[in-house]
């Protein structure tokens, strides 16, 4: 499996855990490193494993939102990768930047920013759109 396919699979696993409200699964998909960060829409940026995971517990409390990832594109830069994708929610669309780092256990999230934006307008024909 290509690096890009692996990263897109990790990105799918992230949204699968998100939509199922599984904090335990999210905790596995995020890096255990201290230099991770997250920027939820309208929140100040949060840094460090403890604050990042605490934010996910708050967001997923009870049950996860009906969220669907679309139009994901991966860019692999050595042991770091970006995925840019749309997040389709009932209340509207967001666009996210997800940053992954290659660790021993596989590609793990180190950063996520989501903000209100329309989805990509013209899927590329390069094969990186799913």
């Amino acid at each position: 499996m290509s690096d890009e396919s692996q990263v897109l699979a990790a990105n799918r696993a992230f949204y699968d855990a998100f939509s199922h409200g599984s904090v335990e699964r999210l905790a596995e998909l995020w890096s255990e490193a201290e230099d991770i960060a997250v920027i939820h829409p309208g929140w100040p940026p949060l840094f460090g494993r403890e604050d990042v995971m605490e934010s996910w517990r708050g967001i997923l409390e009870g049950q996860g939102p009906a969220i669907r990832c679309g139009e994901a594109r991966a860019q692999v830069f050595g042991d770091t990768a970006l995925v840019i994708c749309a997040e389709h929610l009932e209340g509207g669309d967001l666009v996210a930047t997800n940053v992954f780092r290659r660790e021993e256990a596989g590609w793990r999230l180190v950063h996520h920013q989501a903000g209100p934006a329309p989805p990509p307008v013209a899927p590329s024909a390069s094969g990186t759109v799913h």
Copy 2:
């Protein structure tokens, strides 16, 4: 100069060019690679050098916005680095994720996402806040 300091200097140069409305300088600070991307607040994500630079030309037409970068933190992962920072504008605050790649000529931007969010609340004592 440490990698982190170099990346923060590149980030300052980006906001300097941004606030001075210099498309020429932005064109130098962004990677010439095709796999670059940008997510401006409320815009669909844009991919590729042509569309990314065209967006900057549109945004900076006439003169650049009064934008000031604050609370920048850099995280270096080998030849890729993230800077998370606040963007203070007259109309309100945004938070940005800026992704840099180490190229022959130095650290160059490959991705930028900005979205509405309050600035970081508690500057860390780790020395990575400027």
